[in-house]
Amino acid sequence: MVEAILDPTGGRRAVAQGAAVLTPNRLKLAGATIGLLENTKKNAAPFLAELGRLLVERHGAAGVVARTKTAFAMPIPEEQLAELARTCDAVITGVGDCGSCSASAVADGIAFERHGIPAAVICSDAFIVTADAMAGMRDATGYHYVVTPHPVAVLGPDEVRKRAEEALDDVVAILTSVAS
């Protein structure tokens, strides 16, 4: 009798091939409250703060709600997601600048979109493969996020502000446009 070779993966080896799922409720920036969810990685908080400032100054956003995700490798806790979904019209999260936090930031962005909240994820270009793999695992292949050049952690304050400004157009496009 010929024995089968057993599969060690539990049948889960294939990454799902679903399409990106964006909430159809894209954002009108004027008067919007923007959640800034920083993940404790070096320079994440000033990067997001500068984006928030620019959205208020140039696009008429009403203000920001700044929060910290303390466990950067893990999915956003449900209570924190619910609180941001309740108090904000859109969320910016990041910076995905390590092996686990880049994947996790993408998972959070997808979770926000599925809760009807437009979300822009900031990820360093060194982690595109792992970010895309996470999108596949969340059945959102092709999920679009904002890419900033690696590294982010070594930048000085002026350089961080410049990076945020460079990312601004992509953030606006993702938050406001279904086509993104």
């Binding site: 080896r13 092996g99 686990s100 998972a107 695992m137």
Partner: protein, 346 residues
């Protein structure tokens, strides 16, 4: 009985490569009868979930562990050690979280205590960090295959190690209890003496200390502390650096009246650097516990200690008593401080 057919074996091995199941080396293709022999060595149900990575929505069952252990080349009787090693790892916060995806590319170090070492043939003496012994080689490999196949964490995809460390999925040894002057690591971790147990911690790397030309135990302590105090391994305000002492070093220290706890206390006191050394290396400033560069010379003259508690300085004795060498092990995150008893052993 006819001789095994190598062509069939080769085809089965290639099949496993094609499925993406291997760590680069050939695996033993797992069959139902073989895996059932593994499962017969535990009272735990095959569908019991023994690990979960929440962020990836993946888990590992006893059955998947058995398949991985078989594929890694374990014998069925090793399986309780594999399960104990896995449970010990799951006590580690990083192993339950994002550690396997980390740019640090950490590896488990598995330390086996008790009679199971002799029963299964774990090496605890010469060449403990090297190859040549089936249980030492295959038990940690099984853990690596569980992370790869059950958790789905593959290099270059969800696993983002910048370089990783030599010996990843290969660091597993018995403690040399017979030549250690002190209690076994499992006893330091709170288990009863004489039992078989596994302790697990994640490592960034290991570095040897060769000091065989002195009878002065304080010179050995200073030599160990100097290696532990390098700036390169330092990323957070606090660190965890263990010692795998060769029997000669351990016996020299014990002969001079030092317990394991004394050695830990000595290292807590002496492992660290002057503020100016840290500033020069860009590691003086702490923001949220992460070290970074600072231009400030404040604190240049202060001695900064790195090791906050004895749990951050695990001490284990392994190797051969043929030269006075030891290994500093750089712990990723921090050790849980716990050991797990091997099922079915006293």
């Amino acid at each position: 009985m006819t001789a095994p057919d190598p062509v069939v074996a080769q085809e089965a091995i290639e099949h496993c490569y094609e499925q993406g199941w291997t760590d680069g080396l050939p695996v033993v293709p797992a069959s139902r009868p073989l895996v059932d022999q593994f499962l017969a060595r535990t009272a735990r149900a095959p569908d019991e979930v023994i690990g979960r990575v929440e962020q990836l929505d993946r888990e590992c069952t006893v059955e998947q562990a058995a398949i991985s252990a078989a594929m890694a080349g374990c014998r069925p009787e090793y399986f309780p050690v594999v399960l104990a090693a896995w449970d010990a790892l799951m006590l580690d916060r990083a192993a339950r979280g994002g550690g396997w995806q980390s740019t640090s590319g950490p590896s488990p170090m598995l330390v086996v205590n008790g009679p199971v070492r002799q029963e299964l043939g774990f090496n605890s003496t010469g060449g403990v960090f090297g190859p040549g012994f089936r249980p030492n080689a295959t038990v940690p490999r099984a853990i690596g295959l569980m992370v790869r196949n059950a958790f789905g964490i593959h290099p270059h995809v969800l696993e983002q190690a910048t370089q990783g460390l030599p010996g990843r999925w290969q660091i597993c040894f018995g403690e040399n209890e017979e030549e250690s002057p002190w209690e076994p690591l499992s006893v330091s971790a709170g288990l009863a003496d004489g039992g078989s147990a596994v302790t697990a911690m994640l490592l960034r790397t290991v570095e040897y200390v060769d000091n065989r030309h002195t009878q002065d135990h304080e010179q050995v302590l200073w030599d160990l502390a100097d290696t532990m105090s390098r700036t390169g391994a330092l990323i957070f305000r606090e660190a965890s650096y263990g010692l795998v002492l060769g029997p000669e070093h351990a016996q020299l220290l014990a002969k001079n009246g030092m317990s394991k706890q004394d050695v830990q206390a000595w290292m807590i006191e002496h492992v660290g650097r002057a503020g100016r050394d840290l500033r020069r290396a860009g590691k003086s400033a702490g923001e949220k516990q992460v070290r970074g560069a600072s231009g400030s010379t404040d604190g240049d003259d202060e001695f900064q200690r790195f090791l906050p508690s004895p749990r951050h300085v695990p001490v284990v004795v392994a190797g051969s008593r043929n030269a006075a060498m030891s290994m500093v092990v750089r712990v990723f995150g921090e050790w849980s401080g716990k050991a797990v008893a091997v099922e079915g052993t006293a």
